[in-house]
């Protein structure tokens, strides 16, 4: 695989929320990964593991109550987005990096016509006049497969179905031709048949516009269909990062492994029991000292309880585990990627 | 969510907690007014008319030389009792009717809600005024009137809450197991609509004190020898030129109580709302 230019690099992202009278909760704890140009990176993990917090921190859109540790870094074109002034960040948003959200039901302002909402970013960044902006918008929503775009632009969101709205969201996000699109569970709220449509459109557009995508999901099927590379998160941490083929071929982290085996497949014999991961995710307020996955892991040892495994290079892939599913690399050969 | 948990969540909100303490203190003062008050509240002393604050009379004396602090304490008694009456009536009449209306639906609901809307269209104070005129002028009647005025509000709240709870999955679960109307209302609806109603009660209790004061100001509330803050303001207003300060004590008392009631209501809302806490 040819080495591509890195577009975005997240180094040691640590975010926490503190409310008076409540224990500090560590929402994201050591997240490291990068996104290359023209690449689709999937960020997977269970609900609450910090996917959205991570994604929102890229654009500085997290709630004001969420703070970052000082060593956290999100590099984009040689700038640390976490340190960027609000004005500069605003120039970036919607222009270089845009984002679509999980629920198309609520991502559009219900009181504004589609057209108005779509052209907003264009008018903000591209100094376009209203007419050309509208023409651009028409072209774009036609591209995402909406017929009769002229009329649709004059509709209100409630007049559109969920699938249509998500198309509109995608069109809107790509209107300024950004370098990076962050899609936070773009299809979770949709039916499978609609999901297939949307994913197809995303893939087509990604190729056409050569945009990088950070695709957040918890559906491994979607990951397998879409991603070039996969980042697996568990309880605020990246536990594994690998090329999509390699990951599905042989997951290294017991958690990734568990995830893959706990989904019943459509092929194969159907009567076999699925092997579930036991237990539940620890709450962000009371993370264990060692490995966060300790309680649920089948491969755990005492060491896991005491020492936190860091993300380390493991035969060309990164994994944060003392006892990866495939052993063979001695401890001292591991090189810490970051701490 | 347990009661203890709610209490803890309530106490964690500082303003609400302080308000809560204020209300508790007020209740204590009201309950023990006969022991706490330095003077009988209606004992005139023509030698010390409208005196300013002094060691003997912390808040001074009124136009008949009565001790303002003592009157304030007894006024708290009336205020608390009265606010309770104004809440109990809608709780006893409005809430059950609202629950029934919401639960049964259909024609009963239609008719009942039309009547409720009809009453709600009449401005509250005006309605209270009319009812007080009908019942006769005194504090209790004013409070009964306020209670009646609050009744449709509570009925409406109870109804809308019932409608909401009625379609929660756990109610369906109970129905699947064969629960009837009584069971459902008793075990599921009433416990779950209580928090908003408690919150509303907290707001309305302070509102009751305000309405009582308004009625008293118009001469339709407390009458001597009943002592209420509203009545004290009415008296003080008629002496505004001679001694404007007489309005201050009852005025501040009303304001603080309403403030406490409102803040407490907000605090209760946060403390009792299960939605604000997941897992």
């Amino acid at each position: 695989m040819s080495k591509r230019e890195t577009l975005l690099e997240i180094n040691n992202l640590r975010a926490f929320a503190e409310k008076t009278g409540e224990p500090r909760s560590q929402l994201v704890n050591s997240v490291n990964f990068r996104i290359d140009k023209g690449e689709i990176v999937a960020l997977v993990g269970e609900s609450g593991c910090g996917k959205s917090v991570t994604a929102l921190s890229i654009l500085g859109l997290n709630a004001a109550s969420i703070e970052y540790e000082s060593e956290s870094e999100i590099r984009f074109h040689d700038e640390n987005l976490l340190q960027l002034s609000d004005r500069k960040l605003r120039k970036l948003r919607g222009n270089d990096i845009s984002m679509i959200f999980q629920d198309p039901m609520f991502s559009l302002n219900p009181l504004k016509k589609i057209g108005k909402q779509m052209t907003e970013a264009l008018l903000q960044h591209k100094a376009a006049d209203v007419r050309t902006a509208r023409q651009d918008a028409e072209k774009m929503i036609e591209r995402v497969g909406i017929t009769d775009p002229k009329r649709q632009l004059d509709n209100y969101p409630y007049q559109l179905s969920g699938g249509m709205r998500q198309r509109v969201m995608i069109a809107m996000a790509l209107l300024c031709k950004p370098e990076l699109l962050i899609a936070d569970e773009p299809t979770t709220a949709l039916d499978v048949t609609i999901q297939a449509q949307i994913l197809e459109i995303m893939k087509d557009l990604q190729q056409e516009l050569d945009v990088s995508i950070l695709l957040i999901t918890h559906d491994l099927g979607v990951v397998a269909e879409m991603a070039d590379r996969v980042v697996v998160m568990y309880s605020g941490q990246v536990v594994e990062e690998a090329d999509v083929y390699a990951l599905f071929e042989q997951p290294l982290h017991p958690y990734t492994n568990g995830l893959l085996t706990s989904v019943p497949t459509l092929e194969g014999e159907s009567d076999e029991r699925i092997s579930a991961i036991r237990g539940t995710v620890p709450s962000p307020q009371e993370l264990p000292k060692g490995c966060n996955f300790y309680d649920r892991c089948t491969r755990r040892t005492d060491r896991c309880k005491k020492e936190e495994p860091l993300l380390t290079n493991h035969g060309g892939r990164n994994v944060a585990c003392w006892h990866p599913v495939v052993e063979g690399v001695k401890d001292d050969e591991r090189t810490a990627i970051r701490n | 969510m347990t009661g203890k948990e709610m209490l803890r969540r309530f106490m964690r909100q500082r303003a609400a907690f302080i308000s809560g303490i204020f209300v508790v203190l007020l209740i204590v003062v009201a309950l023990f007014a006969p022991w706490l008050a330095p003077y009988p509240p209606d004992l005139p002393n023509y030698d010390r008319v409208m005196a300013g604050p002094s060691l003997a009379h912390w808040l001074g004396t009124d136009e008949l030389g009565r001790d303002v602090l003592s009157r304030l304490m007894y006024g708290a008694q009336a205020g608390i009792q009265a606010a309770l009456i104004a809440i109990i009536i809608p709780l006893v009449i409005g809430v059950p009717l609202g629950i029934l209306s919401g639960y049964l639906g259909g024609v009963f609901d239609e008719v009942f809600m039309r009547i409720v809307d009809g009453i709600l269209a009449i401005p509250a104070i005006l309605l209270a005024l009319g009812i007080t005129a009908a019942l006769g002028v005194n504090l209790w009647n004013a409070m009964i009137a306020i209670g009646i005025v609050f009744t449709p509000q509570f009925a409406r709240l109870a109804r809308s809450q019932t409608l909401q709870i009625r379609s929660e999955a756990y109610v369906y679960a109970a129905k699947v197991s064969g629960a009837g109307a009584f069971w459902t209302m008793g075990r599921h609806i009433i416990p779950n609509i209580s928090p908003p109603i408690i919150v509303q009660s907290s707001f309305n209790m302070s509102f009751a004190i305000l309405v009582e004061a308004s009625l008293s100001f118009l001469g339709l509330g407390a009458q001597s020898p009943q002592i209420s803050w509203g009545g004290m303001i009415q008296q003080a207003y008629s002496l505004m030129y001679m001694n404007p300060w007489l309005i201050l004590a009852p005025g501040v008392a009303i304001m603080l109580t309403m403030l406490a009631g409102n803040i407490m209501g907000d605090g209760l809302r946060v403390a009792l709302d299960p939605k604000l806490k997941k897992v």
């Binding site: 222009n95 959200f101 609520f106 | 009449i122 009319g130 006769g136 403030l259």
Partner: protein, 315 residues
């Protein structure tokens, strides 16, 4: 479409008017005190009383009285005052005109200041203005309007002499006089409203700011100000529209006290007087007109709401 929506709403109003007026009618009969006796005073002989009662229609049953009232009310005749003989509709309309101007001014003040305060506090969270907005929204609901009225009166009229202490001048007669005469009472009336509106607008804005579409707006690179003005206000103002509708009713009631203090000959005073005097014909008219106004206001808020929110279709 719109017409049908209107007629539907109007048809909904009719039973409500029946119910309300009937409730008022029944209440009135519960009020002790005989207007005939009050009018005749020491001249009350049995014959005189009987004659006057017949003349006032008080000798008939509740339903008959209600029916008579209703049939004349339907053709626009609300009868005559028991005491002064003046036409009820004339009296009520002229008083209502005054109160309406007063209450509307109060609402406008409350709305303009309340929403502005909320918006500014949202733009600068944690700033002094934010703290001030919070203070206003809690304190404002706790200060009784009559107390505020007395305070304003004492300071701005009696001590400083800046504004008149009594009376009302219509906007249409003398706009400057109107402002001077209406300022203190409408502030006294509107303070609670302002607090409520600030509070509701603030929490609505906060709520709106947690929605995905606001995040979407931010993700497009809009500034806080742009987001508030292009996306926040319109969404947040929806619940406030309802609040304003309710406020109209509340303030209409509150005039009962404030008008007394400022000696404004509005509907509130008329209401109190007619209750005290047992002028049932007048009282019935007063309540009817108040209720109609309140219903019309609610109706108007519905329409404003539906204009602001395209989701509400007139179906």
């Amino acid at each position: 479409m719109f017409l049908r929506f209107l007629t539907k709403r109007l048809l909904y109003v009719i039973p409500m008017l029946f119910i309300t007026t009937f409730i008022v009618f029944s209440f009135i009969l519960l009020i002790p005190g005989d207007p005939a006796l009050a009018i005749l005073g020491e001249n009350a002989s049995d014959e005189n009383l009987a004659q006057l009662r017949a003349q006032l229609g008080l000798d008939q049953s509740l339903l008959v009285q209600y029916w008579n009232w209703l049939t004349s009310a339907l053709v626009g005749d609300l009868g005559e005052s028991f005491f002064t003989g003046e036409s009820v509709q004339e009296a009520v309309f002229s008083r209502m005109g005054i109160t309406f101007q007063l209450v509307t001014t109060a609402i406008v003040i409350a709305f303009v200041f309340g929403t502005t305060l909320a918006i500014v506090s949202m733009m600068k969270p944690g700033s002094w203005i934010d703290e001030f907005a919070r203070l206003v929204s809690t304190m404002g609901t706790a200060i009784p309007n009559f107390l505020l009225a007395m305070l304003l009166l004492a300071v701005f009229s009696l001590s400083l002499g800046w504004l008149p202490a009594t009376g009302f001048i219509s906007l249409f007669d003398d706009p400057i006089g109107f402002v001077r005469s209406v300022l203190l009472p409408s502030i006294a009336l509107g303070a609670v409203g302002m607090a409520q509106i600030t509070r509701h607008m603030r929490s609505a804005l906060i709520e709106v700011f947690e929605t995905d579409y606001i995040r979407t707006a931010f993700s497009k690179g809009l500034s806080v100000r742009q987001t508030i003005f292009h996306h926040g206000i319109r969404n947040a103002i929806l619940p406030v529209v309802t609040t304003v509708g309710i406020l109209y009713g509340n303030l209409m009631g509150a005039t009962v006290v404030v008008e007394t203090i400022f000696s404004i000959p509005g509907i509130g005073q008329l209401a109190v007087d007619s209750i005290m005097q047992r002028d049932f014909a007048m009282l019935q008219g007063v309540v009817l007109v108040m209720v109609v106004i309140i219903i019309v206001i609610n109706f108007a808020t519905d329409i404003i709401y539906s204009l602001l929110d395209p989701r509400i279709k007139y179906e």
